[in-house]
């Protein structure tokens, strides 16, 4: 499972060893910049292989550090108010706590809720409608969207090239001071790649770590989950990465979901199944954040489904849940909170100079 990443890291080490060897041989090579230090991710047991191809963008300490700085730099937005981390808050599972719709520059608002961005290296496509096809280019959308960070990419690159601090960090991460969009996006990708969540109580129970066990209510909730939720919120990622219409009535924004991406009426009102990991820390819920409380979500599936031509067969008749089952589900979902993600000091905000 970890083999691929380890292999890549191993290759990087090899290349670096060889490069060092060459350096010693060729006199006159100043070699003032130390090479970036390879980093290997400790990936959770039982997870699938990452979808993201690290071969073009091997993780390094300096690359991750640059990505982290970029992630928290509000100057990446048109009016220097919005950083990536502004909407993607660590304590909220890298979603936007208590905000139904995403915020942007000049007080603007987007049309969907901020998704939590962890375990992104396992995702095949991005955004609620799956419109973005590669993790590296994902940041391009919020950066340039006028309702989000609203920046002109060319201007931004020029600005960063003029900043001695950025030049220093690009040099450390990529060997020269040149600021390019490819380097910038790859660095952000490296940082986002380190946001992996697979160390919740649920994981400890499943992987039999330290004798962890579910309480009777958690266990009952897990059984309800397996019977009524797991078909879409598939373990271990708690999403099967499909696009489905869950019977949520269309909102006032007339958001048709994935149909906009595929031009196919069969995709009307379909949105990506979100993960349930850290779900109790990442309210509000649904693609437009219409529910602020997880019990509203339970109630919606119990008796709020509105059937259209594209409503998923699995929810067409609702998902009946008794009050006891809702309570049990709540306790189970609570075991999906991963404090090693929410409180990891290496993912927290960094001061911007």
């Amino acid at each position: 499972m970890n083999r691929k990443i380890t292999y890549i890291a191993g290759l990087v080490c090899l290349v670096i060893l060889l490069a060092h060897a060459c350096k010693k041989d060729s006199a006159g090579n100043t070699g003032t910049t130390p090479l970036p230090q390879p980093v290997t991710l400790q990936l959770p047991a039982g997870f699938p292989d990452p979808v993201y191809d690290f071969s073009q963008n091997p993780l390094t300490k300096e690359g991750i550090a640059l990505g982290r700085y970029l992630f928290y730099d509000f100057r990446l937005s048109a009016d220097s108010t919005i950083s990536c981390g502004f909407c993607h808050q660590q304590f909220a599972g890298f979603g936007h706590f208590d905000h139904a719709l995403s915020h942007g520059v000049l007080g603007r608002q987007g049309t969907r809720t901020v998704p939590g961005i962890f375990n992104m290296i396992y995702m095949k496509a991005f955004m609620w409608d799956g419109g973005v096809n590669n993790l590296e280019i994902q940041p391009l959308t919020p950066l340039t969207d006028p309702n989000e960070m609203g920046v002109d990419l060319k201007e931004l690159l020029k600005k960063m090239q003029g900043d001695p601090n950025y030049r220093k960090m690009f040099l450390a991460a990529f060997g020269t001071e040149e600021v390019t969009s490819q380097r910038m996006f790859r660095a952000i990708t490296q940082f986002v790649a380190t946001m992996v969540s697979g160390n919740s109580k649920y994981d400890s129970v499943i992987n039999k770590v330290g004798g962890a066990t579910f309480s009777p209510e958690e266990q009952a909730g897990y059984t309800v989950f397996q019977q009524k939720c797991a078909a879409c919120h598939k373990e271990p990622l708690f999403t099967d990465q499909t696009y489905r219409s869950n019977g949520l009535p269309i909102n006032v924004l007339q958001d048709v979901g994935r149909m906009r991406i595929t031009n196919n009426t069969a995709d009307y009102l379909k949105f990506k199944v979100p993960t349930l990991r850290n779900v109790l820390k990442s309210q509000p819920y649904m693609h437009d954040g219409r529910f602020y409380d997880i019990y509203q979500v339970f109630d919606f599936y119990d008796h709020g489904v509105v059937v259209t031509a594209t409503t998923d067969p699995l929810v067409k008749n609702g998902i009946p849940l008794t009050d006891a089952e809702k309570r049990q589900l709540y306790f189970f979902l609570n075991t999906l909170t991963d404090y090693t993600l929410l409180q990891n000091p290496s993912l927290s905000e960094v001061p911007i100079q």
């Binding site: 080490c13 590669n134 490819q182 996006f185």
Partner: protein
């Protein structure tokens, strides 16, 4: 999440020895006929943008389409990539992958050099208008393919293969502008088009020479045939779909060879 610096020496040594043994294997088994190394030279392509028979003048020239609507052009850009050469025996040589963005506003983009061209006598050239599907799904790219060139759709990943923008009194938009951004690399809206152009004179690529081929790209062809485009009904195209497909079928016809200089 724990980050850990990779320190496994054993693994490094293992992979190192693995590669060494692979090298050893390939050496001992490579007893086939030795093919003499091909000699390479280069080829220069230059592009002149036209509308019909007159050179394109952005924001200045006024033109008329098949629907008898007048228009001006403010932006004209197209990707060309995946070059192939055909010799007189019909043998097709695929050149190493290169991507160029020709932008009418930037003269330096209108002259491109293809290197690593095997020496030979070529009677036709072939390229893709746009960016192949692989590059549309492989993450962030650099150079001509860098996203800041404004030729990449952010909300629905994929390259804009070619772009024509301007104004027409027939356009129903507030500022009378039209914007034709043509893209799409997936079935059923795959707008990738290949062009094959026969050369009127054989291009002789030899060691130390660089034949010069010049081409005309007629922006007017976007609007005429086989699918007549009226700005009254096709004004803004900014997604893959049937409109993009129709225009791609049209612009597939836009290139002609002007000269071949050996």
């Amino acid at each position: 999440m724990i980050l850990r610096i990779f320190r496994s020496r054993t693994f490094t040594i293992l992979s190192f020895s693995g590669i060494l043994s692979l090298m050893a294997c390939s050496k001992s088994e490579n007893n086939q006929t030795i093919v003499p190394p091909a000699t390479y030279s280069s080829l220069q392509l230059s592009f002149s943008n036209y509308v019909g028979n007159v050179p394109l003048q952005r924001n200045a020239g006024t033109y008329t389409n098949a629907a008898r609507e007048t228009y001006t052009i403010s932006k004209f850009l197209y990707y060309i990539s995946n070059f192939q050469l055909v010799d007189s025996s019909g043998k097709v040589t695929t050149l190493p992958p290169r991507y160029f963005l020709v932008d009418d506003a930037i003269d330096s983009t209108k002259k491109i050099i293809l290197d690593s061209v095997p020496v030979g006598r070529y009677t036709a050239i072939r390229w893709l208008i746009g960016v192949d599907s692989i590059r549309n799904v492989s993450g962030v790219q650099a150079g001509a393919l860098a996203p800041e060139n404004g030729m990449f759709w952010t909300w629905n990943s994929g390259y804009i293969m070619a772009k024509l923008e301007g104004n027409s009194p027939a356009a129903p938009t507030a500022l009378k502008e039209f914007q034709l951004h043509i893209g799409g690399f997936k079935f059923p809206y795959n707008a990738l088009k290949t062009v094959t152009l026969n050369l009127p004179v054989t291009a002789i690529v030899a060691k130390g020479t660089q034949p010069k081929l010049s081409f005309r790209a007629d922006a007017g062809k976007w609007l005429d045939a086989p699918n007549a485009i009226s700005f009254a009904t096709t004004t803004i195209v900014m997604a893959a779909g049937t409109d993009a497909l129709k225009i791609a079928e049209n612009y597939q016809q836009m290139f002609t060879v002007m000269t071949v200089a050996n």
